[in-house]
Symmetry: C2
Subunit: 175 residues, 2 copies
């Protein structure tokens, strides 16, 4: 596999602002380069840009008003995460052998049937209803060996601790 | 380990309804028996009870107004998920060797410092900001071998498919 991006479909700003923000943050923290956001929402983009400026990396959110076009124009494979799909563990070897970039598609509201048709892989993280956030985290952790252990070398660095909240702001400590 | 439950702290009904619902659904789908919900929200409970009645199992949401008491009275170990904690992979063997039930604590808003103090394990799924939903999914998938492959034998069963949305309602087909 080359790299992967995420497409968040069916975002409803009034309902999904926080869940979509979690989808974007999970995408970034688990190594995606970009999230395409179907339906614009400046609050989501602002939150993510704020995290990137503090914690580093070059993750971006790009608005799309036409997710079918985004999928059709994707130069690589499409992996749609859905509780109706095939078990990820049955397809993982095949997916990991893909040499092209992968677009991981997650829906908010029910996705239209063409998403199943246009996807190379319709993949389930279990067949129970749970969350596109947890499905994305599990899927990306299985695709990517570094998974959640990303270090973006941003100005703010967390110092892991068993006892307390501890972080340093490198931009300030260098003054 | 015996079993695990989840404590959702700091739920703000006006902001967190959907994310907390995802925390509860992830808890259920990844094998927890119960989620304690700090601050009551009948809409969350109604949504979860509806899923349980359709998809099976005996997962419940129990309201707590005093999470410190819930933690103090827990007969087992406390694992708090936080981006400030120690890497899960460094502590996993130790946690998996726990013979008592584990209460997994996830916060919505910033948790008070006593949560760190009262926890036996303050654990990070990476040191980047992402989501309590993804953190919970990764942690439970590592604690539990069956992880997301739960079958609750409810009236509605999903038929995994690479092509389409497909489920059967056993309660109806038996007529």
């Amino acid at each position: 596999m080359d790299f992967y991006n995420v497409l968040r479909m069916g975002h409803r700003p009034e309902r999904d602002k926080r869940v979509t923000t979690h989808v974007a943050l999970t995408s970034r923290a688990f190594g995606a380069k970009k999230m395409y956001l179907h339906r614009s929402d400046s609050r989501v983009i602002e939150t993510i840009n704020n995290v990137v400026s503090k914690f580093g990396g070059d993750f971006t959110v790009e608005t799309t008003t036409n997710p079918k076009k985004t999928i059709k124009e994707w130069d690589g494979k499409i992996m749609h995460l859905t509780m109706f799909g095939l078990p990820i563990d049955d397809k993982l070897v095949e997916i990991k052998n893909v040499k092209e970039p992968i677009l991981v598609v997650v829906g908010a509201e029910k996705v239209p049937p063409w998403v199943f048709e246009y996807s190379d892989f319709n993949i389930a993280i279990g067949s129970q209803p749970h969350s596109e956030v947890s499905a994305l985290a599990i899927a990306l952790s299985k695709l990517n060996e570094d998974s959640y252990n990303q270090n973006f070398e941003g100005p703010i660095q967390v110092i892991p601790s068993g006892e307390r909240r501890n972080m340093v702001d490198i931009s300030k400590s260098e003054d």
